[in-house]
Symmetry: C2
Subunit: 103 residues, 2 copies
């Protein structure tokens, strides 16, 4: 049995992206962050919808209209295609476990 | 902000299915169970893949080869198209919160 909170990689120097399931139209992935942000790599600008939930930890997403959203465990949102966004902050002391569905 | 653990319906006489996001190919839904099973309604026999995770509570899924899988918080699996299955049991005293992605 796979558990979304298990097998957290010991090396979290970079964020860790793992594909849990995939088809032609859909990608389900787990993302582990620990103090990471995407502010230096620029905006995410995705062709697909992204339904994303924080299952553990805490994160702040920033949109290019300068609004920010703070996500705690259980919080979810839909990011529309080409809705530019960054991960502005993730908790530095604990792992943040995300589940993202790209569709 | 929507939270997957919030707004649990007061009336859980029946299981509660709520669509969180949907496209032509994908349906993301929250399911709340409390002591429910699908043993009386027969086998689920679905045309699509289902990626399903238990986020809170506990459940047992039964397959038609008589294997069973017990799911606790964080446990997930993929149910293949036409892999017949039932929810054999869910925790009677607490809510079981499922997230299912049909694709």
């Amino acid at each position: 049995m796979n558990n979304i909170f298990a097998a957290i990689p010991a090396d979290l120097t970079s964020e860790v992206f793992e594909i849990l399931a995939q088809s032609d139209q859909v990608k389900i992935e787990r993302i582990i962050s620990k103090g990471h942000s995407s502010t230096e790599t620029g905006w995410y600008d995705q062709a697909q919808h992204e339904w994303v939930i924080v299952l553990e930890g805490q994160a702040i997403i920033e949109f290019d209209d300068q609004t920010t959203i703070t996500l705690s465990a259980g919080d979810y949102l839909i990011i529309k295609p080409h809705q530019k966004h960054k991960v502005a902050w993730t908790a530095p002391d604990i792992e943040t476990v995300w589940l993202a569905v790209h569709y």
